[in-house]
């Protein structure tokens, strides 16, 4: 399983990413690996480069939250930064409210969905920061010396996306049970086959789809961000200057959209999970939104 591709370059000076001494006529291109690399160990726990980035994102958001909350409650008139945060939160809240159409549910779902949004967007944007990727440790790997990046975009690792997907699906069950009671919620999946055989089959399919959500959530985000990394690496290798700028813009956009899609789909699933089979109008409405999101 070799991860490196050797590319012949004309001049030999090229991009200079090769670890070997000058005079070697090849420049080696290391594409991002599909797994995250271990950069250190603390006790028995291995720390991967994506986890390091995740910590940075969390730290950043915590600092922002702390800066924001200082004197926020006392200030009758918020200052510029507080106004900006307020605007974003209010916009997101109104947007979520237009999906749920229910003030109680919007408040209930807002925390998880908004956190998913901010975490993913900030992590994705940090992932295309200069220095993420090129800064690394040279390590021997399969007989070759390769560069292991110290930092790597958080969600280019299935572990990270899987964790958020777990949260999303788990909370769907929790909110469903909170809003429909225990029996009402599980009654959607387990239908008596003697009374309603079709309902029984549909219920089983829905149960399976609950689990498949974990896969679709995690691989949608992972695939997008990993592909973005590969794209940037390839473009950066082929044309190091200027040509890659539009692709950085594209990745900024993708990072935002993926955060929005993840949080909005989570919201829609929360809403669907919290809606009984009786109210078909609401289900139809939320699934419309879902299709709209997927289409975008």
């Amino acid at each position: 399983m070799s991860q490196e591709i050797v590319v012949q370059t004309g001049t030999g000076e090229g991009t200079g990413t090769a670890p070997t001494a000058a005079g070697v006529e090849t420049s080696t291109f290391f594409p991002p690996t599909i797994y995250s690399e271990t950069v250190g160990h603390v006790g028995g726990f291995e720390i991967r480069n994506t986890l390091l980035m995740s910590w940075i994102s969390v730290l950043f958001l915590c600092i922002v939250a702390w800066r924001f909350s200082r004197k926020y409650v006392e200030n009758a008139v918020p200052n510029g930064f507080q106004n900006l945060v307020e605007m974003i939160i209010e916009g997101l809240y109104d947007f979520f409210h237009s999906v749920t159409q229910d003030t109680k549910q919007t408040k209930q779902f807002f925390g998880v969905c908004a956190t998913i949004f901010f975490f993913i967007v900030v992590s994705n944007w940090f992932g295309i920061f200069p220095g993420v990727g090129p800064i690394g440790i040279w390590e021997m790997h399969n007989g070759h010396e390769i560069l292991v990046p110290l930092f790597r975009s958080t969600f280019s690792d299935v572990n990270m996306t899987l964790a958020i997907a777990f949260i999303s699906v788990f909370m769907t069950q929790v909110y469903g049970m909170m809003n429909l009671k225990f029996g009402g919620y599980w009654g959607k999946f387990f239908v008596n086959p003697l009374r309603d055989p079709i309902g029984f089959a549909v219920g089983l399919l829905e149960l399976i789809s609950e689990f498949s959500k974990i896969i679709s959530f995690s691989f949608r985000l992972y695939g997008n961000i990993f592909a973005g990394e590969v794209l940037l690496a390839v473009i950066g290798f082929l044309a190091p200057y200027l040509a890659s700028i539009p692709f950085y813009g594209l990745e900024l956009f993708v990072g935002l959209i993926q955060g929005l899609v993840f949080s909005l789909l989570t919201l829609v699933f929360f809403k669907m999970g919290s809606t009984g089979h009786g109210d078909h109008d609401e289900v139809a409405h939320t699934s419309d939104v879902k299709h709209a999101v997927i289409a975008s």
């Binding site: 599909i34 797994y35 958001l61 926020y72 939160i89 209010e90 956190t115 572990n159 964790a163 949260i167």
Partner: protein, 166 residues
């Protein structure tokens, strides 16, 4: 299971990311979502309250305006009535005063007329008596010897009576 190893799925990493997310959720909820949503709610309530307050103030103003104009109207009519009453009572007072003055004057006039008449009568009577006596005295002087005192007396009385009848 080759997929899992190729993707580098690792339980420790998964749990670490779960912890990261939950930590972030807790902190953002405590420091950002809670305060912001509460403040937005407060602001909404405040605006609603001030709108209803201003409406109430408008209503109060209208009520006051109405009460004021009513009061002015009432005062105007009251004062008008008072003026009218005063005018009537003044007229009455004037009438009664002139009436009483007239009556008094009449009474004085009547009394003085009566007194004048009485005085005149008394004067005439006195003058008559005086004249009679004078006539008698004069006649006495003339005809002292011809008449007896009885005759004299009779003649004097006759003369007085004649004079009084006149």
């Amino acid at each position: 299971m080759e997929l899992i190893s190729k993707l580098g799925i690792n339980l420790g990493m998964l749990v670490a990311q779960l912890v990261n997310f939950l930590l972030l959720l807790f902190i953002l909820k405590k420091f950002v979502y809670g305060p912001v949503l509460e403040k937005l709610e407060q602001r909404k309530n405040m605006i609603a309250k001030s709108v209803s307050d201003s409406k109430a103030a408008d209503e109060t103003l209208r009520d006051i305006e109405k009460a004021r104009s009513e009061m002015i109207e009432k005062t105007k009519s009251q004062s008008l009535a008072m003026i009218e009453a005063a005018a009537t009572s003044a007229e009455e007072a004037k009438n009664s005063i002139t009436e009483s003055a007239r009556r008094e004057a009449q009474a004085i006039f009547d009394q003085s007329k009566l007194q004048i008449a009485r005085e005149k009568e008394k004067m005439l009577k006195e003058a008559g008596e005086e004249l009679g006596r004078l006539v008698v005295r004069a006649a006495e002087k003339i005809i002292e010897r011809e008449f007896t005192p009885e005759d004299q007396k009779r003649l004097a009385t006759q003369a007085t009576e004649q004079f009084g009848q006149k």
